[in-house]
Amino acid sequence: MEFLLENILNLIGFIIGIIIGVFAYVGYKNTGSPVLFRLTLAFVAIGIGFGIIWCGYMIDDLYLQEGKINRGLQALGLGIQTIGYFFIAFSHTIKSFFPKSRYFRSVGILPLFALSAMNIEHIIRSFSFILLVYGAIETFVSFLEGKQKGALAVGTGLALLAFGEFIAWYSLVFPESVLYSVSILLKISGLISLFLPISRLPLRKIKFDDLDDDEDMKFDDLDDGKFGR
């Protein structure tokens, strides 16, 4: 059951990550916005991370048949996902200077101590958790400021992914319980919630810019860096 759920989660994560990543890349190509570039890196990394783990499960299912994924492959996939979560958090950090967020620091440091003796996979998961919590908090704050329904859905998605990671830790303490399956279901719900506002945007109408790279519009060189970030 867990094996099947893991397969579904990672396949969904791969597809959603790549779709949002490509969408952000099209936006970056057409507008030159550095925020969209960071979101491209974030979601492509998240998609690739999920994809690697999915491939690991498929390889085991089709060839090795050991009933478990190669730990190195799992750690690699989780590491790449964490890089993606980092870029989401990093975009928020630039927007609202990191040291202001005392709440995040107090909440975020705790799991690192709690899992200091665990293996690298769980340390990576703890980083993902911290970054996801931070991203979720910042997105919720933006929702409170702007009342954008999309921001609420994305914030909820990031929060569900973070909660999923948190529950996955607890499954280490209670390995035979349903906690791990619950964490996977939470993460699937989080990914769907992330995708909801994006699915409402007019994906089909968007196309790549016909201009060559040299001819692309460059607005950054217009003025002193006062307005640029």
Binding site: G27, L39, H92, G146, G150, F219
Partner: protein, 95 residues
């Protein structure tokens, strides 16, 4: 404390203003664009010449003063800008 607009947001505001103010073929005057996009004359002159050279705005020769109207590629850019602005808003970020 005031929030600085990014360069791309200023460009978006100018194009939006130009689109709003281009009622007929005459285009919008610099004064109207300054008021609508909330930007200084020094800054807007530089940006306008860049937007014209990029083909996003068209310069219209008028009897009294130079006017600008949004071009087709400017409209395309503005549409893309709005879409991706909404996209980044969903993440609690600004484009």
């Amino acid at each position: 404390m005031g929030i600085y607009r990014k360069q791309i947001e200023i460009v978006g505001d100018i194009l939006y203003a130009a689109e709003e103010l281009t009622i007929d073929q005459e285009g919008a005057s610099i004064t109207k664009l300054i008021q609508k996009a909330n930007i200084s004359h020094t800054r807007i002159s530089k940006i306008l010449s860049n937007l014209v050279s990029q083909g996003l705005l068209e310069q219209v020769d008028s009897k009294r003063a130079c006017k600008y109207k949004i071009s087709m590629s400017g409209k395309d850019f503005l549409r893309e800008y709005k879409t991706f602005s909404e996209f980044t808003d969903n993440f609690g970020l600004t484009i």
